[in-house]
């Protein structure tokens, strides 16, 4: 591997990420399954980095899952996204921060469509106006929230309480980075580092002290694939895709996986349980599973936030061994305590539970 070759590509795929004043759009999956991640994105940006992030409670799903599931037509999704732009315009924001990779892909696709087929933009303006009476400005930039964390990765590193380093051995943790397909595979120029060697997560991992694993199936889909998962009969494909990735990364004995896509985080986490149930295989060292974390969760850990506040316990593969490696002391008994101290029901079948 020649690092200078990758650096050259990274230098080619740079995009403009604004410094401040973001209009935040949430992810359907993340706010449900990894609510802590979105919470801490806002917290890190606002409190740790002192940025202005605006969120409008009226914003909705982008309908991306419906779009990729063939139930929402393109005209509809353009109008829905245009409504988000209208909300941003009304609030005076020109930079969109998108929590979800599917949404990010949708936004990129729509912006590109409007650029190449201006008549579709006009049509959308008309549709939106007819439906809601709103008007909008095309935003100046769109950033995925991982882009934003990427931009401030060094700042976070400077404030780090913990690093991606095994405190027992002093060696960097081996981290698998997984980029959502729709982040840059459709439009490489919208992704940091392009499609083949994306830098967005690599940059964070390296800044925070970890070692990135470049394994053969790095580019492979996590298996979500919309219709693959949404149609029950197709879920075998979804599982197969995940397993393919796990088998490919297994020889490198990774300490954790960081993903920037809601679906990827969820499926690479949940399928480890399912594969265990179906085939009896548990990946990771000593059958501990491979924890799958979001980049905000990792940023939160690095900044020293409480793992249970970050919501690490809501993953199927529990992170206790990982926390131990990082030297983070977390009381496992507090995992399922509610804010008011009452004990929540404990999920069954957790890996490393």
């Amino acid at each position: 591997m020649k690092p200078e070759g990758k650096k050259r590509i990274w230098a080619e795929y740079q995009k403009e990420i604004p410094d401040d004043h973001f209009f935040y759009v949430r992810s359907c999956i993340r706010q449900t399954f990894f609510a802590g991640s979105e919470q801490y994105f806002l917290k890190i940006l606002r409190e740790d980095l002192g940025k202005d992030v605006f969120e409008d409670p009226r914003h909705t799903t982008c309908t991306g899952i419906g779009y990729h599931g063939d139930v929402v037509p393109f005209e509809t999704i353009q109008t829905v996204v245009a409504r988000h732009f209208a909300l941003a315009t009304e609030a005076g924001y020109r930079h969109i921060a998108i929590s979800c990779v599917t949404s990010f892909g949708i936004y990129s696709e729509i912006l590109e469509t409007w650029k190449h087929f201006p008549e579709t933009l006009e049509r959308t303006r008309e549709d939106l106006y007819k439906a809601t009476g709103r008007t909008f400005e095309v935003p100046e930039t769109i950033s995925h929230t991982s882009d934003i964390i990427y931009k401030f990765r060094d700042e976070i590193a400077r404030k780090a309480k913990y690093n991606l380093i095994n405190v027992a051995t002093g060696k960097p943790l081996k981290v698998v980075e997984h980029i959502g397909c729709h982040y840059s595979k459709m439009f490489p120029k919208y992704g940091i580092g392009g499609a083949e060697f994306p830098h967005v997560l690599v940059g964070m991992i390296e800044s925070w002290g970890g070692d990135v694993i470049d394994y053969p199936e790095r580019r492979h889909c996590c298996g979500f694939g919309f219709r693959q998962y949404l149609v029950q009969a197709n879920r075998g494909y979804s599982l197969f895709a995940s397993r393919k990735k796990f088998e490919s990364m297994e020889p490198y004995s990774p300490d954790m996986i960081i993903a920037n896509c809601p679906g990827c985080t969820m499926f690479m986490d949940r399928w480890q349980y399912t594969i265990n149930e179906i085939d009896g295989i548990t990946y990771g060292k000593d059958g501990q599973g491979i924890p799958v974390l979001t980049y905000e969760e990792v940023a939160g850990l690095v900044l020293g936030y409480d793992p249970w506040e970050l919501g690490l316990q809501y993953h199927n593969v529990q992170s206790l061994p990982l926390l131990e490696k990082m030297g983070i002391r977390a009381d496992p008994s507090r995992r399922f305590l509610a804010k008011d101290g009452t004990r929540l029901p404990e999920p069954a079948n957790l890996i490393n539970g």
């Binding site: 591997m1 070759g5 083949e196 060697f197 470049d214 053969p216 199936e217 580019r219």
Partner: protein
Amino acid sequence: MKGTQKHVIIAGGGVAGMEAAGALAEMGYRVTLVEKGQDPGGHLLQWHALFPDSRPAEEVKSYLRKRIGNHNITVITGTAVEKIKHHPGGTVTVNLSGSKEEKADAVIVATGFDLFDARRKEEYGYGIYDNVITAPELETMFNGGRVTKADGSVPSRIGMIHCVGSRDEKVNNNHCSKVCCVTAVKQAIELRKMMPACEVFCFYMDMRMYGPYYEELYRESQEVHNVNFIRGKVSEASVNINNRLVIKVEDTLAGRPLKMELDIMVLMVGMEMAEAGTKLAVASGFRLGINRFLEAGDHHYGNNLSGVSGVFYAGTCTAPMNITDTISHARAAVAETVRYLDGR
């Protein structure tokens, strides 16, 4: 013509330029051969052996060197031709790099081709993975007499990836570079001869063995040298924990995806219009075709004509060609030039 010796400038000192220069000088014309590199010879300089008969490239190189040894030829190296302009009255002025200007009675453009920059096919990891090399780099290894991995070890499996930068809309090249198929087969045979224990695979979309003895060479590669062929375009490459390349391809004949580990991946980089040639064309107002090579006056019977009086095209600046065709094309350009000069 005697007395006042007519002067022809040739832009580009590759195979076409050298052959044209030689032919014109032989007929008594004064020729200035302008080469931007340090030595005339073009891409041939890197080559070790030529298809289809594995003849040493040196033989053709020395033929061409002898060709430009004529006293009528002045060779200017390290200089690029930047602009060509035809003036009423027949003089053609040629702007050279370093703000020099030359006058001539006619000009032959033989700016040749550039090899496709393999880094543009990012998914193959050229420049990133240790053992991804290009066809000319393999020739360099042949020149050195040893083909090894980056760490110096002996490869046990080599893959030849056809159509890198050719027939690929994603890199804006829809054209076929013509010579890569047969080059791959030639190199595969050389590899097998050199290392009988090393498996060699060609990954192709179509085998375009268009020239004389090419198809025979293809057959020989299968029959005698056990070269393997897999029909499918390699979609991506990565490295595994043993630092071996892992490629993904569809075996289109089986209709199934295929994964294979390779020690060395040789990218059969195609031909593109030379960057210098493009600049020259833009500055001089020459037409470029949809393949971005120079567009000749007539595709069938005037493919040395530029459309500009006194300016002629020779060789791969007009389209990908093998050496045989390049030399023929250069000779045809000379014929056109002479006809033009005589008719004036």
